[in-house]
Symmetry: C2
Subunit: 376 residues, 2 copies
């Protein structure tokens, strides 16, 4: 089995480690840029390589609907299809079904929904989520879970957790069966992560951990956070849940977050993140810098010869002024999205690099203080 994880350093609850996948190693804590439809928006693979990207996330829901998982499988899997040779994590498709699809109906079998593209009807089940991701051949597949609405009552959260646990059992069984029967899949070394749910209820989260770990996945993610709850609550659930998870497996906090969220969550024992924030905000003109957020649209930058961030070494900051970037944004040039995305991804990946170094030297607390000050 080509999936492995080892923790090399710790600083309090924070861990620095290396995740090994069939398509290469990933230094953790790691941030995964989101490549929704098989492409990180506005940048090319060589831009990602240049940024030091080690792993990206792709969305199963989108790829399943277009161009189709069967098609991608026949073309050799997602890595071959995309021309991307490094690790890929795919989600289960569930989150988009719950947030994007029309007329969704959740039942014990799975979720019935209509495509947001053409209205066609589809059924996503724990088993089909496994099948689709096997066709994609990602390095890390996620099990299908039920995405709990927020806020949710304790009874509703408990009921939803029960279903998530039953789905986890079915998803894992199908994954194991598929791997034993079909070793010729695009990525025979694919790993499957379980997902911890339970809403904002510590005892439900604990039960979710106990029962999901009992099923036995290669590793575990914390789901159902960053769904509208207050940030302190998110940190609390993370802080309570992370240490319950097996210490020898990576912990992935799904859909999180802001630069401060990254630092705060690493400090609570998280190893992996994904979020659309750096890429989406870039396309909207919001840039993350060493002195805080900067909106390149603002008129004050129209004559500003300086770079977005004088302390940043990214391609954008090395070569272009705020005045030029503002002009590109105001003029609606596609390059605005590209240059802004390069900068924000550099900021995120550089943040992770600094975090990893700080863990080695037990100085994570310094970055934490710094980021709290920069991004109040």
């Amino acid at each position: 089995m080509s999936f492995s994880f080892s923790v090399t350093h710790t600083d309090g609850a924070a861990r620095r480690g290396v995740l090994t996948t069939p398509h290469g190693a990933v230094q953790t804590p790691a941030f995964m840029a989101v490549g929704t439809q098989g492409a990180v928006k506005a940048v090319t693979h060589r831009d990602l390589d240049d940024l030091g990207t080690e792993i990206i996330l792709a969305n199963t829901y989108h790829l399943y609907l277009r161009p189709g998982a069967g098609r991608i499988g026949a073309l050799g899997g997602l890595h071959a299809f995309m021309g991307w040779s490094k690790p890929i994590l795919t989600d289960s498709g569930g989150y988009q079904v719950f947030s994007l699809a029309a007329r969704r109906k959740v039942h014990e079998e799975g979720a019935t929904f209509r495509s947001h593209l053409d209205g066609s009807e589809h059924l996503l089940t724990p088993e089909s989520a496994v099948d689709i991701q096997a066709q994609l051949g990602s390095d890390i597949a996620m099990v299908l879970d039920e995405c709990l609405e927020h806020p949710a009552s304790r009874a509703r959260a408990s009921e939803s957790l029960d279903r998530t646990l039953r789905w986890a059992r079915r998803g894992r069984d199908h994954f194991v069966q598929l791997q034993s029967e079909s070793p010729q899949f695009a990525n025979p070394g694919q790993a499957q992560f379980g997902i911890i749910q339970g809403g904002m209820f510590p005892d439900l989260r604990r039960r979710s951990v106990d029962e999901t770990v009992a099923i036995g996945f290669e590793a575990y993610a914390i789901g159902g956070l960053s769904v509208g709850e207050p940030v302190p609550e998110m940190y609390d659930v993370t802080e309570q849940t992370a240490p319950l998870l097996p210490p020898d497996r990576p912990r992935y906090l799904m859909g999180v977050g802001t630069p401060v969220d990254l630092v705060e969550s690493v400090a609570r024992g998280i190893d992996m993140f994904d979020c659309v924030l750096p890429t989406r905000n870039a396309r909207n003109g919001q840039l993350f810098t060493s002195t805080g957020r900067l909106n390149i649209k603002n008129a004050e930058y129209a004559d500003d010869k300086g770079p977005v961030d004088a302390r940043c070494g990214c391609y954008t900051c090395r070569n272009f002024s705020r005045a030029y970037l503002r002009h590109l944004f105001q003029a609606g040039e596609m390059t605005a999205g590209t240059l802004n995305t390069l900068h924000n991804l550099h900021f995120y990946l550089d943040t992770m690099k600094r975090i990893r170094e700080a863990i080695v030297f037990s100085t994570l607390e310094e970055i934490r203080q710094e980021y709290r000050r920069i991004f109040p």
Copy 2:
């Protein structure tokens, strides 16, 4: 004076040469990618560098309206503003005033028009076109000419030519005066090209050449072609006009053209080109290949593992399949525009490179036959 041109090889009427500007040398015949608003759409400067781009064109009309020529001048000129250190040619702004602006009115003084952005009223004169381009500090500035509608009667073409000649005289006088009075401009080595008009009438074209050359510019462009006339007529006018121009100055055919147009026009003595075709068509999914045009939207490419062009060495063809590029296009990913643009610009620049090599070996006729066959 830092502007110079030397012809190093000829093959019939075709010339291979080197154009020297304050921002570096350009091998001719040369194709200039169009960077309308100070950016070649969908690609970054490092992409352009990687493609071997030696010169780009920027549109004075667009930059004058947004972000403003005064602003760009105050920021150190267009090169500093864009972060582009290689040669730039700017047009006079006239073509966009005639094609894009609202409620334009041409009179002896110049052209009054309203901005397509905010409706504000502006006056572009032969003198202000010089002033604006001096603020931009491009390496090559174009004189303001009147853009003749097509078709036009002989009387109308003659009348328009007279005005263009009067404007050329005014534009040149102002350029010479400005250079002697204000050597501290962003680009003191800026050259100014005159423009040959005269519609489809050989005698008017000849008169235009005689009188424009008598005014005396650093070099000359042929304008008023590729405006809707039949292609053979365009070739005829080019063939008749180019040899009348001074042999020791580069000849620029404005707004042309298709790959075949490039080869055919080089064979008639043209040294410089610009056209939006490779970049605009790329964004619409139309790609130029060694076997002809290819529309990446077509369903036939949905499962095609091959590159756009097996004989192409561009980044796109080296790394991505037709299936993936079709998916990106269908999914509306910005990267589709980027990868397609990289390919088409590579095709155009590679065509120019092959043309330059062929002139050295007196084999241009072979490329001409090949391109006529590929792009019938």
